[in-house]
C-alpha cells in the first residue's frame, strides 16, 4: 500500500525495540469482548485507475454545467471561479496543515485569515469577523445563541423568509434548551411583516435575511430600529453575500451581528458543502463571539506577526463555559473567499453584483412577457419567485429532458405557494441560456 511506508524489515526491527513479536501483540490490552468477531467486511482495495473510473461514473450521474442549465440558487450559487483562486487555495501548504496552534510555523494561514476577517468585516460594514463557522445555517444558530447570552433573554423573533432549511437548523439548536421562536409572517410584497415587533419586549434578537428567501431586499433599517427599541439585538443573515457588492451593507443599517453563507466567493457548490459560515459583529460583543479569532501581535524582535487569540472564550480552556463548542471550522473556505475577494477587489465585486442583478432582471422581464407572473413586487438581487403557467408541472419534466432545471418549487417549503418557483440567475447565465428557458416556458 503506497501510503504505508513500512518495509517488513522496518516492522521487525521496530517490534524488536518495543519488545513484541507481532503487530497483534500491540493490542494485547484490549479485552476479548471489545474486539471484532471477524475481519472487516469491506470491498477490496481499488487502484487509482479503478477508483477514477468508479468516481467518474458516479459523478457522471449528476446534472451539472455545461450540459445542464441550472436556475436554482436558494442557498447555493453557481458563480464563476477564476483558475487562479482554485490553484492558490489548492496549494498543499494551505490544504494540509492543522489549525495554526503554533504560530511561528503557520504565519501563512494566520495572515491570510486575518486578511479574511478584515475583508468580510469591511464588506458587511461591521467591526470584527471571526475566522469562520461551518456554514450559513449554523452561523445563524450561533448568532441567536450569542444574542441569548448577551441579553439574558430566551425568545427570538425569526423572519419566515429566512431560508427554511436555516430555520430548521436554528430550531434543532434551540430545542433542548427551551428557547422559543416568534415567527414573523411575510407580506404580499415578499417582505417580512414587522408588525409583531411593535412594542415587543423580552426578545433576545430579531433575525432577518436579506436578500430574503424569495430574493427580495428587506428594509433592514426599519427592522433594526424596531429590534433596538425593544432592547433586542438585530441579526441579519444572508445566503448570497455577492448582493453586498451592490446593496447597502448590514452594518450601516443597524445590524449587531451579520452572518450567513460565503460559498458564493470562490467555493464550488459541491452538493451543499463544505460552505463558509461568515460571522461578523461589533467589537463590544467580541468576547461573546463563537469561533476562532486571529489577531495581530509582534514577535521577540518586534516584527509584525499573527496568532490565534482571545482563546479564553473557547472550549479547550473554558470547557462547558465556552461561547461555543466549535473548533475546526471552514478555514480553507475562508482562505478561498479571501483570495476571491482579493482577485475581484471592491470595484470588481460591484461589477459582478451588477451583472447578477441585471441578468436576473432581464429574465424576470422576459418571463413576464411570456405570460408568467412575478409573485412578489419588491426589488430583488439575483433571485426572484415566478408563478409559471398552470400546466407547468407537466412541462417541468420536459424541461429537465432538455437539460434545463427551471428553478426550485416552493411548494415543499411554503404549501400556499404551489406552482411558484424560486429562480436564480448569476453572471454565469448567458442571454442565450435565459432565452432558451423562456422559449420552453412559452411553448
Amino acid at each position: 500500500m503506497r501510503f504505508l511506508p513500512h518495509t517488513d524489515e522496518d516492522i521487525a526491527s521496530m517490534l524488536d525495540l518495543v519488545g513484541l513479536s507481532g503487530l497483534e501483540d500491540l493490542f494485547a490490552m484490549i479485552p476479548e469482548d471489545c474486539r471484532r468477531p471477524s475481519d472487516l467486511s469491506l470491498p477490496q482495495p481499488l487502484t487509482e485507475w479503478e477508483l477514477q473510473d468508479l468516481m467518474m461514473e458516479s459523478s457522471g450521474l449528476m446534472a451539472v454545467r455545461p450540459e445542464y442549465k441550472v436556475f436554482i440558487g436558494a442557498g447555493s450559487y453557481e458563480h464563476f471561479i477564476p483558475a487562479s483562486v482554485t490553484h492558490l487555495a489548492g496549494r498543499s501548504e494551505f490544504v494540509t496543515p492543522y489549525t495554526p496552534y503554533q504560530p511561528e510555523m503557520s504565519q501563512g494561514t494566520l495572515q491570510a485569515i486575518y486578511e479574511y476577517q478584515t475583508l468580510v468585516a469591511r464588506l458587511l460594514g461591521l467591526e470584527v469577523a471571526n475566522a469562520s463557522l461551518y456554514d450559513g445555517a449554523s452561523a445563524l444558530a450561533e448568532a441567536i445563541l450569542m444574542a441569548v447570552r448577551i441579553t439574558g433573554r430566551k425568545k427570538v423573533a425569526l423572519s419566515s423568509l429566512v431560508h427554511p432549511l436555516y430555520r430548521e437548523v436554528v430550531q434543532t439548536y434551540l430545542k433542548p434548551v427551551g428557547h422559543s421562536v416568534l415567527e414573523l409572517p411575510y407580506l404580499e410584497n415578499g417582505l417580512t411583516d414587522l408588525s409583531k415587533l411593535e412594542g415587543a419586549e423580552n426578545l433576545a434578537a430579531v433575525a432577518l435575511q436579506s436578500p430574503n428567501f424569495f430574493g427580495c431586499i428587506e428594509n433592514l433599517q426599519t427592522a433594526g430600529e424596531l429590534a433596538h427599541q425593544g432592547g433586542a439585538l438585530f441579526i441579519t443573515c444572508f445566503t448570497e453575500p455577492m448582493a453586498y457588492g451592490l446593496l447597502k451593507n448590514p452594518g450601516c443599517q443597524g445590524a449587531d451581528i451579520a452572518c450567513g453563507e460565503g460559498q458564493s466567493f470562490g467555493i464550488p457548490e459541491s452538493y451543499g458543502g463544505p460552505g463558509l459560515g461568515i460571522f461578523t459583529t461589533k467589537m463590544k460583543y467580541v468576547r461573546n463571539m463563537p469561533g476562532r479569532l486571529v489577531g495581530r501581535t509582534s514577535d521577540a524582535e518586534g516584527r509584525q506577526g499573527f496568532v490565534l487569540t482571545l482563546a479564553t472564550r473557547e472550549q479547550h480552556i473554558r470547557r462547558e463555559k465556552a461561547t461555543s463548542n466549535i473548533c475546526t471550522n471552514s478555514s480553507l473556505c475562508a482562505l478561498t473567499a479571501a483570495i476571491y475577494l482579493a482577485s475581484a477587489g471592491g470595484a470588481g465585486l460591484r461589477e459582478l453584483a451588477e451583472l447578477n442583478h441585471d441578468k436576473a432582471e432581464y429574465l424576470k422581464r422576459e418571463l413576464k412577457k411570456a405570460g408568467c407572473v412575478i409573485s412578489f413586487e419588491s426589488p430583488t438581487f439575483n433571485e426572484f419567485v415566478v408563478k409559471y403557467p398552470d400546466n407547468f408541472e407537466a412541462a417541468h419534466d420536459g424541461l429537465l429532458r432538455k437539460k434545463i432545471v427551471p428553478g426550485l418549487s416552493l411548494a415543499p417549503y411554503f404549501p400556499e405557494l404551489k406552482g411558484h418557483y424560486l429562480l436564480c440567475v448569476t453572471e454565469t447565465k448567458s442571454k442565450t441560456d435565459m432565452d432558451a428557458l423562456v422559449g420552453e416556458v412559452a411553448s
Binding site: M56, S92, A131, E168, N325
Partner: protein
C-alpha cells in the same frame, strides 16, 4: 549525527493585502455583459465595498508567498497528538474536484443527483461496518458538531422516554470540546477522574451514575493514548441506570478493524473524517464529523437521510422522531468524497494495517524517548503517547521551549499542555504514514534538544530561530486585540 531536516531558506516578505492594493487594478476575468443595465432603487444601493484592487499576478504572488510561511503534512512530520495528521492522498483531492461532484447543486431533483446520493449511502454503510455501529449520519460538519448531534439525540431519547435527565459524566481524559457540546444541550458536566494508570474504573462511574444522569461521554482510546480497558463494564453500569454511552471517536485511527464499538457497549460515536480517514485539515477545516449510532437511536438521526428503493436513491425526511436538521444541506459532501476514496483505496486489510502501524509508530517513539522525557504512564500506548517536561524543569526549560526548538530541527511540535491531567504534557501522535527513518530523525532531534536544555537553555527560551517569525507575543494579542486591519 545524521542531517536533520530543519534548515534556513530564503522566504520572501509580503505586506498585507490592502497595503499592496492599488485602485484601478483587478485580477478577475468578468463574464461578458450581454444584457442591458437594469435600474434599482438608489436607496438600496450602498457604497462600493472597501476592498483593495490587485492584479492576478499580485494575488498569485501574495498567496504563494504566504503559503511558504506554513509548515504542513506535505512538508514533514506533524505529530500533533489527537489530531491524526496523516498523509492526505492526492487522488482524493482530484476525485472531489470532478465536475459532476464539485459543481452539483444540493437542491437538484432526485433523478439528477443519483451519483451523490449513492456515494453518501455507501459511505454510511462503510463507516457502520468499520465501527460496528448500525446507522450513520454524515451531516455534522466537524467533530464538535458530531458531538452536538450526539448530545441532541441523547436529549431527545430521554425526552421520548418521559425523562428529563440533566447531567453528563465527562472524564478528565475526554476531549476539550466534550463539556462544551454537552452544555449546548443544557446538560451539566459531571467531571470524573481517571485512575493512576490513566484509565477509568467501573467503581468511579458507579459512584456518580444515577437516574438524573443522561449518560457518559468517553474518549476511547483516551487522550492519554490509552485504551479504556473497562469500557464494557462501564457501559453496563451506565445502561443499567438508563443512561447512554457516547464515545468520542477522534482517536479511531488506533483501532480500525480491531475493536467493535457496538460490542463495547457504545450507543453513539462520532468520527473525524479529517483525522482517521485522511481528508486534509485545511489549516482548521473544513472537516466532517459523521455520527454513528446503534439501532435504538437510529430514529433520532438528523434528516434528510439517503435511502435506497428499487435500485435508486432518494433523500427521506420521513423520520418522526428525528432531532431535525444540523446542516443547511447534507454536510460537507466534498470531504465525504475524499474519505470514501480513501476507504475504497485501502480496503479492509490496509485499514487494519494502518491502525497497527499507527500504534507501532507511537510505541516506537514512546520506547525510544522513555528516559529522555518523563513518561507519566509507562504502559503500552495506542496511537499516541504522552510525555512531560518534568526532567527538564530543573534547567528552567519548559515544554513550550522544547517544542519551539523542535521547529528549528524541521518538525512541527506535538500537542502541548493537553490533556490537562498531565502537567506540561507533550502528546505525540506520529500516525502510520511516517517511516522509521523519519521517526528516527524526530527522536534524534528530541534528544538533541534535551541535551541543549541542560547546556544551553537560553537557546531554547528564545526558540524558534529559523522560522519567518520568532516567538510571538500571545499575551499582547489578547490584551490589545487587533482583529482587523
Amino acid at each position: 549525527m545524521k542531517e536533520l531536516p530543519g534548515t534556513t531558506g530564503l522566504l520572501i516578505n509580503e505586506p498585507l493585502l490592502w497595503e499592496k492594493g492599488r485602485a484601478g487594478r483587478c485580477g478577475f476575468s468578468f463574464p461578458r455583459r450581454d444584457v442591458e443595465p437594469a435600474s434599482l432603487d438608489e436607496a438600496l444601493i450602498g457604497q462600493v465595498p472597501d476592498l483593495p484592487g490587485l492584479s492576478e499576478v499580485d494575488v498569485v504572488r501574495h498567496y504563494t508567498r504566504l503559503s511558504q510561511w506554513n509548515f504542513c503534512v506535505d512538508t514533514g512530520m506533524y505529530p500533533l497528538g489527537s489530531c491524526t495528521m496523516k498523509y492526505n492522498p492526492k487522488i482524493n483531492e482530484k476525485m472531489a474536484r470532478l465536475t459532476g461532484f464539485a459543481t452539483a447543486h444540493p437542491l437538484l431533483p432526485g433523478r439528477c443527483s443519483q451519483g451523490a446520493m449513492r456515494l453518501m449511502f455507501e459511505l454510511e454503510r462503510l463507516l457502520a461496518e468499520i465501527t460496528g455501529m448500525n446507522a450513520v449520519t454524515l451531516q455534522p460538519a466537524a467533530g464538535a458538531q458530531g458531538e452536538l448531534t450526539g448530545m441532541l439525540i441523547i436529549h431527545a431519547f430521554h425526552e421520548k422516554n418521559g425523562q428529563g435527565r440533566s447531567k453528563i459524566i465527562i472524564p478528565d481524559t475526554a476531549h476539550g470540546t466534550n463539556p462544551a457540546s454537552a452544555a449546548l444541550c443544557g446538560f451539566r458536566a459531571v467531571p470524573v477522574k481517571s485512575n493512576e494508570q490513566g484509565i477509568l474504573t467501573p467503581e468511579t462511574i458507579a459512584s456518580v451514575m444515577n437516574e438524573d444522569t443522561a449518560g457518559i461521554m468517553v474518549t476511547n482510546p483516551n487522550t492519554l493514548g490509552l485504551f479504556e480497558e473497562n469500557i464494557k463494564q462501564i457501559a453496563e453500569i451506565v445502561h443499567l441506570r438508563g443512561g447512554l454511552v457516547y464515545c468520542d471517536g477522534a482517536n479511531l485511527n488506533a483501532v480500525m478493524g480491531i475493536v467493535d464499538m457496538g460490542a463495547m457497549g457504545v450507543d453513539l460515536l462520532h468520527l473525524n473524517l479529517h483525522k482517521t480517514f485522511s481528508t486534509p485539515h485545511g489549516g482548521g477545516g473544513p472537516g466532517s464529523g459523521p455520527l454513528c449510532v446503534n439501532k435504538q437511536l437510529e430514529p433520532f438521526l438528523p434528516v434528510p437521510r439517503p435511502v435506497q428503493e428499487n435500485g435508486s436513491f432518494r433523500l427521506s425526511e420521513d423520520f418522526p422522531d428525528t432531532i431535525g436538521r444540523m446542516h443547511a444541506f447534507y454536510g460537507n459532501f466534498g470531504v465525504m468524497i475524499k474519505a470514501y476514496s480513501y476507504i475504497r483505496s485501502l480496503g479492509p486489510d490496509n485499514l487494519k494495517k494502518a491502525s497497527q502501524l499507527a500504534v507501532l509508530n507511537a510505541n516506537y517513539v514512546k520506547e525510544s524517548l522513555k528516559g529522555v522525557f518523563h513518561l507519566p504512564f509507562d504502559r503500552p500506548c495506542m496511537h499516541e503517547c504522552v510525555f512531560t517536561d518534568q526532567f527538564q524543569r530543573a534547567f528552567k526549560v519548559s515544554t513550550l521551549d522544547m517544542v519551539k526548538r523542535l521547529m528549528d530541527y524541521g518538525f512541527h511540535p506535538p500537542t502541548v499542555y493537553f490533556p490537562l491531567v498531565v502537567n506540561g504534557a507533550i502528546m505525540i501522535e506520529p500516525t502510520e504514514t511516517e517511516s522509521k527513518e523519519d521517526l528516527d530523525l524526530f527522536i534524534e532531534a528530541c534528544k538533541a534538544i534535551v541535551s541543549e536544555a541542560e547546556e544551553k537553555a537560553p537557546l531554547l527560551h528564545e526558540a524558534p530561530h529559523k522560522c519567518i517569525r520568532g516567538r510571538l507575543d500571545e499575551t499582547k494579542a489578547a490584551r490589545q486585540p487587533c482583529l482587523t486591519g
